[in-house]
Structures are given as structure tokens and as C-alpha cells.
Symmetry: C2
Subunit: 440 residues, 2 copies
């Protein structure tokens, strides 16, 4: 066993010039010439050139480097030397020991020309070899930690609600069913029900990041059957405005954290500028949005109650033109297109106190004030043709002093898509799940 | 509509003496006397007495208070007054407006005498009415944020791995199966496979908090079919010792955070002292542990390869006696009781480079160095009688330069159980899931 020194990251090498260190990483490129062997080793912080002159006595190093393959996992122990000729920061490592920890087979199953679906089959290699993909997960960590930081500062408690449910939630068609000790269970399509239960349990403000499951046979660039949801629920609100104010501030805070930490790296890797949004975001009612869109030729029959993706992109573009803002809350969705538990204004039961948040024309959030009054809720459910029995546990929550409340659910990967200018949610997820994809 | 001032929390009332404020909360107790109406209002920060003298002209307030029921959601607007006779911090609110936001039905379905299972049926009321239950979720938030803080400081990236899998993971018997667009999918029993894939993807250190699913028909006080796992995976380790060192420091850091924020509150509510553990935790091999236990009469036939719960409690107690420490890493589990992917020492393939972490004799973590060498892994799988086909995606990870790595999975509710001295994991979870419980 070779005695190795503690691992040093490639980004830290400059501090170790003249000393012997160990670097761990992958053989990024190999140039094995007759006189000299060059290996560029890559770790998650950067790349360094390893330079070995052939022909030393008892040269284990020469033999080890000679049988290296691209993407093999190696540990190189050697002296860090300054060399102005070397392109990689003018540094190189003169190896004293080389350990091949896991030799990669050749050829690799993917390369730079490989298409998206086949890259997803070999996602670990796809992510490992592209610095932009690596960056994405660092950005995701920072983004969610920024949201969490804001939420904690606002008095939120982080909750973990069950993903296994005894009855299908409201839209039974899009729910996964599983066998559960001789009966059926269902996967939660959102923590909606349970975070409302937490509100009724006296948790003042609820924050959750977790998986949500949608059994939708959708094959678009923005749908997945499993994705990471960021959920918030706030008790004792005065109205849905409180929820929107919370969300825009949470996002502005989190995106500012990302801009600070990775703004420059994102510009380099993705060619997009991270803009910290100003608050408040613009707000527009669905009626106003449809009027603006129809003036531009959208929905010529004038029959659509909801915004379709084209309408969402349209209203995003129009608002950006008018306000310079990339974000817009579309509010007051018609009762017909919203679930029964969305609260309706006392003076206009044909709309709901709900919103979608669009970023650059992509829906990233749905939110609402919830109906907390038992009798009103039961009436609204009945009017939608829902039977009370399957949702008795839900309805019971409103019988014993449930406070007014509202909340939001945000799709983390959709925010990442827009933030990094990605074409598909498949690129914004570590391991995408869709109707045709359950692996790797 | 009554114009209300901004909400003030009960804990902040002292700063508002002499001013009119709004407090939102639940009617905790009612004493409606002939001259005066007393209502104690509780929010998540404390309780305050509302005192109303009957008989004002046009007295809406009197009527509103008269029809109040326990646990109704109310907003009280009134003047904060000092009154040394009042037990609750010598403060009371003289109401100027009372809004009943959701009147609770009477009687409530549970009370102080209700048993655990029926309390779980009405978990939102159970949690709302018990300050200790409220505290539990604040402690959970702090505990996990403390672990996350340590992990981020150590270079971890937070990942969200899929819970839907295309093939059952290694122990197929304990896995939930669901219908997935005409075929079967399975719920992940742990992020094990996917966090190893993240390591192979070049994510240097992986951190995840998320749900894990176990289709075990276990009815003990410490098993659930769905629970929150804290998972860590570390690349480029020198050995399993690196994983244990990470975990003990992560836990010490997080428990110190809990002790700072809630040590006193936990003492009051649960009657237990939060002790920040010293590091390193004691380590003992399975062979040593069994020898110590057998000397005390455990497993008289000398046939057990693993520790049963009695053995775990026993070794926890013995180590505490010898070292004064509540925590112990039991290491080197026999190969026969560990999965094929645990690495084995070169000089002794009958044991694994694995550990369990016990706290007060309860297993809270399993961890290991993983076998990252493709040929060794395939051999170990074959020796356990596993066919390579169903796990081809897993095995592929080790063909192209997977670095040495190891990690751990910790059960969040089990840690909370011990931390707060709870008898059952049902009390340490917001909404427990077991073979007989899928609701609420």
C-alpha cells in the first residue's frame, strides 16, 4: 500500500507549489508521447496536468500511466511545480506515485455527439464529463438553501409529509396506485392535503421540499412523472396576496444567493445572465391577461377559460414588454379550472383567490388561499360533483377551528430550467422520470 | 369587515402594552362568568388571557365570546394591558373586536385521556393541543438544518434522487410495487443506488433528506413503512472510518444546535436533558460486541450472526457503563448479514467494512464503504446468488471509473425518539405510516 498524503483539491494546488500532495480525480485526457506522458486529471474543482518523463529506473509510474484510459479514477501523488508553459494555470504535478483506483472500460458509451436520450441512459457519465451539469447541482443546492433560509427567517417549520396516501387525492386519474398489504395506496400528487393538516395542527408556517408524483402521460419538455416540489403553506393570512408576497421575496432572496455564488460561472457555462428580480412582481388577473392576449389574436374563438402554454408564453412576453419584468403572477383563475378547495371572493364566486406564477412565460408555481370554512368547502365540493366519503379525513380538518391559510407549490426543476436557459426538464433533473423512462 | 391591525404573536405582547393589537389563535379555555368573560387564546408562541366585562351597549363582543367553543380559530383585536393578577405573564387583552374565523364543533373527538391510535386518527388536533408535539417539529427542523449545515460545510451537494425505480432494489421482498403506464415500478427503499450513481457522476459528496419506503409488515415501536431518511455519500474516501468520522461530527454539530435553541424547552416538555456528544464516539467490532454480550448471557447457543434488538440494547448499556458514552459504532458486520455491495477487508472477506450506529441501544444508522471495483462487485453479487440482469444499471456504474466511496443512511424519526425520550416512532412522525395505517 502506498502511503498517500491527504487529498488536495485541484483548485487548492497553487497553495502547495513545491510540496508533494495527492490529487484524486479522473483521467480527463491522455497524451502518451515517446519521451513524456501527459495526463490531465480532473476533479470537481478543476483540471491539472500531470507530467511524467519516461525512463526512470524501476518506473512503476510509466507503466501505470501507460495503461490508463479516459475517465479512469486515479490518485496521483506528486510534487506541485510551477511551469509557465502549461496552459492549466501554469501548474503541473510531477508524479511520485500513481494509483489506478478504477480503470474505465474503453470506449466510453457516450461522447460529445451523443443525443439527449442516450445521454440519460448513461447519466452518471453525462454529468461527470460536463462541468455545466456539475454546476447545475451546485446551483440547485444553493437555490433551495436560499429558499429555505428565507422561509426559516419567516418562521417556517420544515415538515416531511407522507407520500403514501390511503385515498386518491382530488384528481384521481393522475395518481399512481400501489399494493399495500392487501389493499391499495396512492402516491401523493402534492403535499397539499398534508400541509393543510399541518396548518390545522398549529404549525404556523410550513415548508417542505420533497418528491411529488404525477401519473400523467405527458411527453413535453416541462413534465415529469416525479419531480421535486417546494411547498409552502401559511396560516392566518389576510388574503392570497400574503402568499404571493412571501413567494416573490423567497425567490428574490434565493436567486440573489445564486447570483452571488455562481453568477459568473453560470454566464460562462450556460451563456445566461442571472438577474435578481425586483419585488413586487407584476400581478395581472386572468381576465386582464386574456383580454391582452386576445387583442393579439390568441384564442380567436374566445372560448378558453385557462391559459394554454402558448397563452402563458404570450402573457409572459407582453408583460415583459410593458413592465420589463420576467415574472408575472396571473391571479383570479376561473372557478371552473381550479379545484374545489380554492377560496372564492365573497362578491364573485366565478373566480378563485388563486394564482399561477410564470417566469419567462413558463408556469413555475400554482398557489391559492384555501377555503377553510367547513360548510363552504362542503358546498363547493358538492358543486364539483365530489362525494364527501373518500375525502372525509380531509374535510374533518375544517371542523375544529382551522385558521385561514394559503400556500404555493413550486417546481424546482422548472425554475432551474429558466434560470439556466435549458430546453428540457430532463437536463434540469439528476435522474429524469417520464412515462417512458424509469431508468437508470 | 372589521379593520384589523397586523398580527402580533403572543410572545411579543409585552412590547405592545397600552397599544391595540390583533392576536390570532385558538380558544384554549373559556370561563364565561355572569359579570366577565375570560378566554385564554393560544398561538404557537404562547397563551394570553382575553378579559371582557359584560354589558357594554351594542355588545357584539359579548355575543361573539358567548358562542365560542374550545379550539375555535379566532382573531382578537384589543388593548394590551398589564394586570398583575393575571397568571399568564401579568398581561391581558381588553377586546375591541372578536372575529370567529372557524368555530370548532363540540365536543372535540379527542381529549387528554385519548389513547395513541385514536390520537393518530385526529393527529392535527393531537399536535395542535400539545405544546410538546409542536416543539417536536421545531426540534426536527433544527436538527436537520444542523446536519445540513455541517454537510454543506464539508462540501456536500444536496441531491434529490428518484423514488420511482424500474427494478426492485436488492431485497425485493420488502419493496412496494406500483402500476406504471402498463408495467411495474418500485418505490426506493433507500437512495443507496442513486447516491452511488451521483458519486460516479462526479458529485463529490452527496447529501439528501427524503422519504424512504419499506414494505415490511413490522409492528414494532421503531418501524414505519415510510420514513424520512438522511443520506450521505462521500467520494474518494480512504476507508469506512472517514464515513464514521463524518457522521459523528455531523450529529454532534446538529445536536449542539438543538441544545442551544431548545435544550431548556425540551427539559420542560419531555423531561430529558439534551447532551451534546463528544467525538469520537466509541467503536467496537461486531466480534468484540458479541463476546461482551455473551459474557453476560446473551445468545446462549452462540449462533447469532447479527445483533437482535436485545443485543443492541445490551451493547449500548455495556458501552455506556465502560465509556460513559451513549453512542457506539458497531463495525465489521459479518458478510452473511450485509448486502453484496459492502466492501470487505482484503485480509478477511468474512466481514464487511460496515457499521451500525446505536444511540442508547437503538440502531439509528447503517453505513459502509461500498465496493467500487467492478470485478469484485460482480463476484460478490454472484456469491449471494444474485443475477446480474435486473441490476445492470447499477453494475454499469462501476465500469467507467467509479471512485472509492462510502456513506450512511440515518432515520430521522429514530434520532428524534431517543433525543426526546419517546416510546414510539409514531409520536416522532407527523403522520405515521405502518402496515395498518395509511390515514389520515
Amino acid at each position: 500500500m502506498i502511503h498517500t498524503t491527504d487529498r488536495v483539491l485541484v483548485s487548492e494546488l497553487r497553495e502547495h507549489v513545491g510540496r508533494t500532495v495527492s490529487v484524486s480525480g479522473w483521467a480527463h485526457t491522455l497524451r502518451l508521447l515517446s519521451q513524456v506522458q501527459f495526463v490531465v486529471v480532473r476533479d470537481h474543482t478543476g483540471m491539472v496536468q500531470v507530467t511524467h518523463r519516461r525512463g526512470g529506473a524501476g518506473d512503476d509510474i510509466e507503466a501505470a500511466l501507460q495503461q490508463l484510459t479516459p475517465e479512469s479514477a486515479v490518485r496521483i501523488t506528486g510534487r506541485v511545480a510551477e511551469n509557465p508553459i502549461v496552459k492549466l494555470h501554469g501548474l503541473e504535478i510531477i508524479p511520485e506515485a500513481v494509483e489506478v483506483l478504477n480503470r474505465a472500460e474503453t470506449p466510453l458509451p457516450i461522447d460529445e455527439q451523443t443525443g439527449l436520450e442516450h445521454r440519460l441512459d448513461w447519466r452518471f457519465l453525462d454529468v461527470r464529463r460536463r462541468p455545466a451539469a456539475q454546476l447545475l447541482f451546485a446551483v440547485q443546492s444553493t437555490l433551495e438553501q436560499g429558499m429555505r433560509e428565507y422561509a426559516y427567517g419567516q418562521g417556517c417549520t420544515e415538515m416531511h409529509t407522507p407520500k403514501l396516501m390511503g385515498t386518491a387525492s382530488e384528481s384521481g386519474a393522475e395518481v399512481f396506485e400501489l399494493g399495500y398489504f392487501g389493499r391499495s395506496a396512492y402516491l401523493a400528487q402534492s403535499p397539499q392535503f398534508f400541509k393543510q393538516m399541518a396548518i390545522a395542527a398549529g404549525i404556523d408556517r410550513v415548508f417542505e421540499i420533497g418528491p411529488v408524483f404525477r401519473a400523467e402521460p405527458s411527453f413535453t419538455s416541462r413534465h415529469a412523472t416525479e419531480f421535486t416540489g417546494v411547498d409552502v403553506e401559511l396560516a392566518w393570512i389576510d388574503g392570497v396576496e400574503d402568499v404571493m408576497a412571501f413567494e416573490e421575496r423567497m425567490l428574490a432572496h434565493a436567486i440573489a444567493r445564486v447570483a452571488d455564488a455562481y453568477g459568473e460561472a453560470i454566464r460562462d457555462a450556460f451563456g445566461v445572465e442571472v438577474t435578481v428580480p425586483t419585488v413586487p412582481f407584476p400581478r395581472i388577473t386572468m381576465a386582464e391577461a386574456q383580454e391582452m392576449l386576445r387583442a393579439k389574436g390568441w384564442d380567436p374563438q374566445g372560448v378558453k377559460e385557462d391559459l394554454d402554454p402558448e397563452g402563458e408564453r404570450g402573457i409572459g412576453a407582453l408583460l415583459r414588454e410593458h413592465t420589463g419584468h420576467e415574472w408575472v403572477f396571473v391571479t383570479h383563475y376561473p372557478t371552473s379550472v381550479r379545484p374545489f378547495y380554492h377560496m372564492r371572493p365573497a362578491d364573485n364566486p366565478s373566480v378563485t383567490l388563486s394564482f399561477d406564477l410564470l417566469w419567462q412565460g413558463l408556469e413555475v408555481t400554482t398557489g391559492a388561499q384555501r377555503e377553510h370554512r367547513y360548510d363552504v368547502l362542503v358546498k363547493q365540493a358538492a358543486a364539483k360533483g365530489l362525494r364527501p366519503e373518500p375525502m372525509q379525513d380531509y374535510i374533518n380538518v375544517f371542523r375544529y377551528g382551522c385558521p385561514p391559510h394559503g400556500g404555493l407549490g413550486l417546481g424546482l426543476s422548472r425554475v432551474l430550467m429558466v434560470l439556466l436557459g435549458l430546453d428540457s426538464i430532463r437536463e434540469a433533473t439528476f435522474l429524469f422520470r417520464g412515462p417512458n423512462r424509469l431508468t437508470p
